[in-house]
């Protein structure tokens, strides 16, 4: 993919990595009038937001399979729909698979299950409304650069005050409740509100998806609110599935970037970031080619950016120590199954199959699965988020055949026994779990692919194979994400910026880190 204009010898900005954040960043910078070169190591753009063929004739989103966090105005601003983004499904429903009993259907307004008590039904409405209020109050922080603490700059002070005011505006009762539950675990919160184990399991799932937590870990209400706030900030489309998979989103982003004047080079892996007189001044490619630029913006994870591409010699030792301490071991695997028919989920309607399916029948089930992950093991009863994207988008599989895409939660990067020998057993465990809710599934399998965090690390060059580039937890969010001293997208080295999921507000195909970072670059200047 080559931009239309002749490539200048020197760019205002070089962006490392054409994942969705790198693409958003490049597009935003180009729209801001900068000359931009976007470098990607792989043969195609997209990073982990990629659609690829895993079995002949079957295509799947290799990483995230649902889009729900990307702000509507970002999609609008970059005119992604003009650049080819189409929707296979929007406002998808959530259905919790419950083994023998009928599944539980969740929509924003109501939870539906024959076994649900009237009290739970009523509590559900109140709970979702309250969580939505909290999410709306927290939503504005996503689009902002996290303020520095102790800074004397008015912008930082105002940002802190604004955050406080957003919460204050909730009113005394809600504010107290938010300040209380903010530090809680989602298990206790749901126990306070509901009776049904199935309902609690389904609601608790979103608090731990992609996190290194179990439902009983303090901080999981925060991760839940975080997700809800990001969704709230994104707009009202809910869970969505781009047509032709997540890769199509990135193709649209790439077109938007190129249309704005950015140049994209694939198969151009960066070897290191060039520094002169304590200022980033370009990059050297693995081929040896050197490209000069005013600013270098890296969408690679912070460990890769600082420890490998930049090199510790350009950084203070204490800063390096902090980077080294970032917890970035992935805990989610991806499972892709090519099927010769629609998956036989028990008692799941055709409509429900168009939405997302959860395998998280109770909080205890989730917690037990997490227990194993703490010790470098995987659970025989894994937790999953399942979609059958081919139901909404026939382009992904041959006619009448289907693709099942599952995120398997609590699959440790550092498996004690090593992935080499464990892989077949893990696959068996995952298929057994699916078979329990979809009897006969095994008989429909045409082909199968598993990506463990180790595979994700290798394929997408993410240290630890963590889709957020680093755990989302109290001590790794906002002004301490990825580390203090680099939380405003600026690195300690002038001219070097970060724009990936390792920054505020994290990963999950949001694009916000890329956009916020680009805005910091456009603002110019360095630390005051």
């Amino acid at each position: 993919m080559q931009g239309p204009s002749p490539a200048p010898s020197r760019y205002d900005c070089v962006v490392i990595g054409a994942g969705h954040n790198g693409l958003v960043c490049a597009a935003t910078l180009a729209r801001g009038g900068r000359s931009v070169l976007l470098l990607e190591a792989a043969a195609q753009v997209g990073g982990a937001a990629l659609t690829r063929e895993f079995v002949p004739g079957f295509r799947v989103s290799a990483g995230a399979h649902l889009l729900h966090l990307m702000p509507a105005e970002l999609i609008r601003d970059l005119k992604l729909e003009n650049h080819g983004l189409e929707w296979a499904a929007q406002r998808m429903t959530t259905t919790a698979l419950l083994g023998d009993s009928a599944p539980l259907a969740l929509s924003p307004g109501a939870a539906d299950h024959p076994g649900l008590s009237a009290a739970d039904a009523a509590a559900y409405a109140a709970y979702t409304a309250r969580m939505r209020r909290f999410a709306a109050a927290l939503a504005p922080i996503f689009s902002k650069v996290p303020p520095r603490l102790g800074s004397t700059a008015w912008s930082d002070r105002m940002a802190l005050l604004r955050m406080g005011w957003q919460i204050r505006k909730l009113g005394r009762r809600d504010m107290r409740e938010l300040l209380r539950i903010g530090g809680m675990n989602v298990y206790d919160l749901l126990e306070e509100n509901f009776e049904s184990a199935a309902l609690k399991g389904a609601l608790g799932f979103d608090a731990v998806l992609g996190a290194n937590f179990g439902p009983r870990s303090p901080g999981t209400v925060l991760t839940l609110l975080y997700r809800l706030a990001a969704e709230s900030s994104a707009g009202a489309s809910g869970l969505s599935q781009p047509k032709r998979g997540m890769g199509a989103l990135c193709d649209a982003l790439a077109k938007a970037a190129v249309a704005a004047g950015a140049v994209i080079r694939t198969q151009a892996p960066v070897a290191n970031i060039l520094v002169e007189a304590d200022r980033a001044c370009g990059v050297a490619l693995e081929s040896g080619e050197r490209i000069l630029a005013e600013n270098v913006i890296s969408s690679a994870d912070p460990k890769t950016t600082f420890l490998k591409l930049l090199g510790t010699a350009h950084l203070d030792a204490g800063f390096v120590r902090r980077v080294d301490h970032i917890r970035s071991r992935g805990l989610a695997a991806k499972l892709h199954i090519a099927l010769n028919r629609a998956p036989p989920f028990r008692a799941v309607s055709e409509a429900a199959l168009r939405g997302r399916l959860l395998l998280a029948p109770s909080l205890q089930y989730i917690e037990h699965a997490y227990n194993h992950a703490k010790y470098g093991e995987f659970s025989a009863s894994p937790v999953m988020e399942i979609t059958v994207p081919s139901v909404n988008d026939p382009t992904l599989a041959p006619p009448g055949q289907h693709v099942l895409s599952a995120i398997v939660q609590y699959v440790p990067y550092a498996l004690k026994e090593g992935w080499e020998s464990a892989r077949p057993r893990f696959l068996d465990a995952a298929l057994d779990a699916l078979e329990r809710v979809a009897p006969g599934l095994r008989g429909c399998i045409v082909g199968i692919e598993v990506s463990t965090p180790v595979d994700l690390q290798r394929e997408f060059r993410i240290s630890g194979g963590h889709w957020h580039h680093g755990d989302l937890a109290f001590d790794q969010i906002l002004m301490v994400r990825p580390v203090p001293g680099a939380a405003q997208y600026r690195s300690p080295v002038e001219g070097l910026f970060l724009c990936g999921a390792g920054c505020h507000p994290g990963g999950g195909v949001m694009g916000v880190a890329g956009r916020n970072a680009a805005q910091q670059v456009l603002k110019g200047g360095w630390f005051s």
Binding site: M175, L179, G182, G183, M184, Y375, F474, D475, P484
Partner: protein
């Protein structure tokens, strides 16, 4: 002060250490104070009891570490007989026969840690520094009333500004460190300093004692500072045994209280706190006797206070809902053991003073976390974390000559078992688990046992009155600290009814034999009465 219809200015329900501390302060300010205690002895969970021959058991709390020095000084506790004997060390023993000892002497400690990792021996200094920095930040907050962040009252705003300024004065880098410290898990925090499993496990121990968290639960790191709270006060022997057992703390408080004119009635269980015209006006004892007072201060935990000792109609619904949501799960068991002699611990070198401090049994943080997993599932830990002491080595009043008393604190043990109620057989099985665990490290331990008192959270609730047997009168998690403790909007020691106060560990800053909640509650009372404090 006293109005004619009243028997007392203030009644304190419960003669636990916080009730006694509050009583002392109020009595010293000239109020006529009555403390009512259900048991025939005072102290609540800070007691010394003779349950077997001439052995004295500190049968609940067992260490004097956090008692605020300003309280000891003001209430003249040394004069009233309190004597603290410092620990001489401490250690963690591993199943493979290895151990890590903690020595007071810095060089001995460095060489000891260096046996496991030379790097950790020096990283220890950075670790101590960082935790001490946090202690310095938190210390003044212990003796203050937490501000209500939703309030516009000048006092609350002033307090919030004070907190903000204090935080700000640390400078940018330390502010981030502080944010992280208060929200991290102990395991993650320790990983940033140490490489040796036993070093990490040893320090992680203090993060789980009494909590319903595991070492990998976020929010467990800050508990690590308890170990340093004493040092920051420059108080020699901050961690120590109370001579005569923990009852000595309560007895000194009781003596100080009575010397200042206070009245204690033991074996006088309170059935109800009476409210008239929206004001607390006294209590009714279980026998039906009514005692009137201008103020009632409850030293009971909030669940017990408001759900069992008050009438729901006297309380706002919203408040009651919050109280019901207050997390107070018990997680600890305790064995008190009379021994026929001193048990041998072959992994500890001959002559080492570490047995005259707190001895622990665990191997790794993973082992502790697995112990926690058992608790989450409603089982006692199959391989529990143990914190044990033999105070009779230093304090001869605790056991007859040549014999010893051993206090064994056990983490984790649930209040409610997944397989039904606690029974005598289950209690015995729990005790056996603990005894067998210790016996793995001490070959002659079992044969020395003369008597063992086994206490589960269920027993602690039934005897001491702590709901669900939670030793801190409520879990010390982020959602139940500072202005959230015990419940949002009521963190300033004042109950939802006029003239009614809370002074137990359910309030800020929480549990441990610290006395700060009692002192802070007394200060709130005196401020409301516009009396000097």
């Amino acid at each position: 002060m006293l109005q004619p219809a009243q028997d007392f200015d203030a009644i304190i329900v419960g003669a636990g250490h916080n009730g006694l501390v509050a009583g002392c302060y109020l009595s010293r300010s000239g109020l006529k104070v009555l403390i009512l205690e259900r048991q025939p002895y005072i102290g609540g969970a800070a007691v010394s009891r003779r349950l077997y021959q001439d052995f004295t058991y500190s049968n609940c709390s067992y260490v004097c570490s956090l008692l605020r020095p300003e309280i000891m000084r003001t209430l003249e506790l040394p004069k009233y007989g309190l004597q603290i004997i410092p620990y001489e060390g401490g250690c963690t023993m591993m199943r493979d026969g290895g151990h890590l000892a903690l020595y007071d002497n810095h060089d001995a400690l460095r060489r000891e840690i260096a046996r496991h990792s030379k790097r950790d021996a020096e990283a220890y200094d950075r670790y101590s520094r960082d935790v001490m920095r946090q202690c310095k930040f938190i210390k003044p907050l212990l003796m203050r009333e937490p501000p209500d962040p939703t309030s516009f009252k000048p006092r609350d705003i002033q307090e919030l500004l004070y907190l903000g300024r204090r935080f700000h004065s640390m400078g940018e880098a330390r502010m981030y460190d502080t944010l992280r410290f208060w929200t991290m898990s102990a395991a993650d925090f320790l990983d940033e300093y140490f490489e040796s499993e036993i070093v990490k496990a040893h320090f992680a121990g203090s993060s789980i004692i009494g909590t319903a968290l595991g070492p990998r639960s976020p929010g467990s790191a800050y508990v690590l500072l308890h170990h340093y709270m004493g040092d920051i006060d420059d108080t020699v022997g901050a961690w120590g045994f109370a001579r005569g057992g923990m009852g000595a703390v309560s007895n000194a408080l009781g003596a100080s209280f009575m010397a200042s004119g206070g009245t204690i009635r033991s074996a006088a269980p309170v059935a109800q706190i009476r409210v008239k015209n929206g004001r607390a006006c006294g209590v009714v004892l279980e026998g039906g006797e009514e005692v009137r007072a201008r103020l009632v201060i409850s030293n009971l935990d909030v669940r017990r206070t408001f759900l069992k000792t008050m009438d729901a109609k006297d309380l706002p619904d919203d408040f009651l809902r919050q109280v019901r949501n207050f997390k107070i799960r018990g997680s600890s068991g305790k064995l008190n053991i009379a021994l026929d002699g001193l048990p041998r611990f072959p992994s500890i070198p001959e002559g080492s003073p570490t047995t005259r401090g707190d001895m622990h049994v665990t191997d790794t943080i993973e082992m502790m976390e697995r112990a926690y997993d058992d608790w989450k599932d409603g089982r006692w830990s199959r391989a529990p974390y143990i914190d044990m002491l033999i105070p009779s080595q230093i304090d001869p009043t605790m056991a007859p000559d040549g014999k010893h008393y051993m206090s064994v604190f056990v983490q984790y043990c649930p209040y409610q078992l997944a397989d039904g109620e606690w029974t005598q057989a289950k209690r015995q099985a729990f005790g056996d688990t603990v005894i067998n665990t210790i016996a793995q490290h001490s070959p002659n331990f079992k044969e020395l046992i003369l008597h063992a008192e086994i206490r589960t959270p269920w027993d602690i609730e039934n005897e001491v009155g702590l709901t669900e047997g939670n030793i801190f009168q409520g879990e010390l998690t982020m959602d139940q600290l500072l202005f959230n403790r015990p419940v949002p909007g009521f963190a300033q020691y004042r109950g939802p009814v006029k003239g009614m106060y809370m002074c137990g560990s359910s309030t800020h800053p929480g549990g441990g034999v610290m006395g700060a909640p009692g002192a802070n509650a007394a200060r709130a009372v005196l401020r409301d009465l516009k009396l000097a404090h």
